[in-house]
Symmetry: C2
Subunit: 201 residues, 2 copies
């Protein structure tokens, strides 16, 4: 088993934190996105979408997509549970994981991709759209702050994959100057999840 | 139990097809997106994101997010399986479900949102970005056509939630004149999944 990843990127970090919480160790190989290594034919054979991370099993089977890799390890080793145990828990955590991915991490990444000089020349940028994504991300963080006034973690009383998804998205926000500092409940949550040993995985 | 939905929208259709395949019947209530009913306070109490569908349980608990609702019913009633039985099956189907959602259905919907007159005045549109999304969707459909040359369904030999996700995305493509007709393997697959009784749910 081998995990193709890239240290500085948010999605590989999500899987590293997930594995650290589970206490699972997987050999890793770096694919340098900044050098376009993920766009080379050799890598596209593993994942035609070009995204990282990708988990390669011993028989050569490849699992791409961060959430699919998490689900693989959750099924292989259910404890400590990060994606729910019963139907309602599974659904509630998936709802929150998706909200964190699609309403917070995604607009932050789309803002970065469409406004940051890193992508200038690599990708057609739409700065107006990027700014709208930033506005949307800030609005959702404000809403999330209110949610966290009433509970410890994103999806309830337990730390789950929804927290990891929010953490990697919000930390990546630094790249476009989005920070949790001015929102008190989000700041409290952020300090708490960042203090876990897994956060530096 | 009650499903808040809107007949013409793609995500509610995904859940209807999923439930039809499972043989599960859930009472439904229409929330008219065209009249902005999903942006009213009454609905935002059920789902602050404003998205449809939302599943309300008898105790008032609400599950939003299409994929979370599917996962709820998959856990409640595993057969016929639409999301995988073992770790590898679960991960493979989730990988393909996500590819269909994020690489095909999402760019089609973003194209619609940013270029179609339906959203003119309702939402700030970024037509250039919408056109880039259309290009991306067409590129991915071409790739998917090649994938379907080698197997019957999106994620392998069995019909799964990945097929339903692709179907609702591709059928919605008509709104922006994206059709599967010119791609032979995609056309074969589309005819096959459209012929299932669930497709008209």
């Amino acid at each position: 088993m081998k995990l193709y990843e890239y240290e500085p990127a948010p999605n590989p970090r999500l899987v590293r934190i997930f594995l650290a919480e589970k206490g699972i160790d997987v050999p890793r190989e770096q694919v340098d996105i900044s050098k376009g290594e993920n766009r080379r034919d050799e890598f596209l054979t593993l994942n035609p979408m070009g995204g990282l991370p990708v988990l390669e099993l011993d028989d050569g089977t490849c699992i791409a997509e961060t959430a699919a890799i998490c689900r693989y390890f959750e099924a292989l080793q259910p404890e400590p549970s990060l994606m729910g145990r019963d139907a309602l828990g599974i659904a509630r955590i998936e709802m929150w994981r998706r909200r964190m991915e699609l309403e917070i991490a995604l607009p932050i990444m789309l803002c970065f991709r469409n406004t940051h000089e890193y992508f200038s020349g690599r990708y057609p940028q739409f700065p107006d759209y990027g700014e709208a994504c930033e506005k949307q991300a800030r609005k959702r963080l404000q809403w999330l702050d209110g949610e966290l006034a009433g509970r410890e973690f994103i999806a309830g009383d337990d730390y789950t994959v929804a927290d990891i998804t929010a953490l990697i998205g919000i930390d990546f926000g630094r790249m476009v100057n989005i920070r949790p500092d001015e929102l008190p409940h989000l700041k409290r949550w952020h300090e708490e999840v960042s203090a876990r040993p897994s956060a530096s995985a």
